[in-house]
Symmetry: C2
Subunit: 207 residues, 2 copies
């Protein structure tokens, strides 16, 4: 995790371990993300998190201001990954279908490699300010993809008889449903990426 | 709702309103399903449900033995719908791809018309015996569909380069993701059925 991202997550620039402790903010965010997924954000205390990380509570607070900052850090990992994809040259240049293919492939890759963070993002209900902020960002991402589906349809490259809004919803539904079953030890990321691309663009029967 | 299904839900054959009250077990199950979705099963009391239905608690207990029976009744509606599809002639006879097409179309139809019940089913976490039973039934349904995807692949009708297990997961992920956004007043059920069939079988670009 970059220093810039640490700063954003903690809102305390320059805060870093100096005592040689093996914990970084990144590893504590990972511990927190897994705990939030397992028992829910509200039901998880800083006490629980310190126990899960195997460090004292005061040591934990040395790294991060509290639970909300950890959630924010975890959601940043997911959102930075997804928005990073939209900023890649192959997502910005070329015919809409080619850009869409690139985005879908890379979106699956981000989901598979940042699984707990993306899962947390997709399960948010919007109960806190941080959650509502993240849901807004997630909507922005979906809208960017939906705009490309519409462009592809208008360019005559995608099937015209389906409403692009519905097509975009189905596309993001297919990709996001991966969090329900995908585990990296069962299917290699590269195979997953190929499978999703084929099914989304050419269908179960196409090819 | 049929008398047979009422009996299964309440486990009290013959229990019916006799005082001309406008509430049936079916309508109380609907009230309960919406409340469970809104605030969660654990957080919903029979008190809450009576208030939502606009009847007294004792009047509510005249219809149903308690919360668990209401959950069971709601899940029965979803599962009866889904397993009903598997028992239809078009799901049992003909080449695997045609059977699969029929099942996917009808599965979407059941999901759209029994939306709160299917949503409840898909959000279960398996905390109670009833929930675990329903999750088991849901797995059975998914396995029946996955077996057909495999058959279609082996018959050379579906793309061979994707693992049928992954293909089946993506298929059910696409269909189940409808609960996250589908509302009957936005897209007609028939249009949704067509859109999902096209996207699943022929892809965004196929046709």
């Amino acid at each position: 995790m970059s220093a810039a991202r640490e700063d954003r997550a903690t809102r305390r620039p320059g805060r870093r371990t100096t005592n040689g402790e093996p914990y970084t903010l990144g590893s504590l965010i990972e511990v927190a993300a897994l705990a939030f997924l397992e028992r829910g954000y509200d039901a998880t205390s800083m006490e629980d998190l310190s126990r899960a990380a195997g460090i004292t509570k005061s040591s934990f607070y040395h790294h991060v201001s509290g639970k909300e900052a950890l959630l924010r850090g975890a959601l940043d990992r997911a959102l930075d990954g997804l928005f990073g994809v939209l900023a890649e040259p192959a997502a910005l240049e070329g015919p809409p279908v080619a850009r869409l293919r690139h985005i879908v492939r890379r979106q699956v890759e981000v989901l598979a490699t940042e699984l707990p963070y993306v899962t947390l993002l997709l399960r948010l209900r919007g109960n806190t300010e941080t959650e509502r902020w993240a849901l807004g960002r997630r909507r922005e991402f979906d809208q960017a993809v939906a705009a490309l589906v519409r462009e592809a349809t208008e360019a005559g490259a995608a099937r015209p008889e389906v409403d692009p809004v519905v097509a975009a919803r189905l596309l993001s539904g297919t990709v996001n449903s991966l969090i329900e079953w995908y585990r990296p030890d069962r299917v290699a990321v590269a195979d997953l990426v190929d499978a999703v691309e084929r099914q989304v663009f050419d269908g179960l029967l196409g090819g």
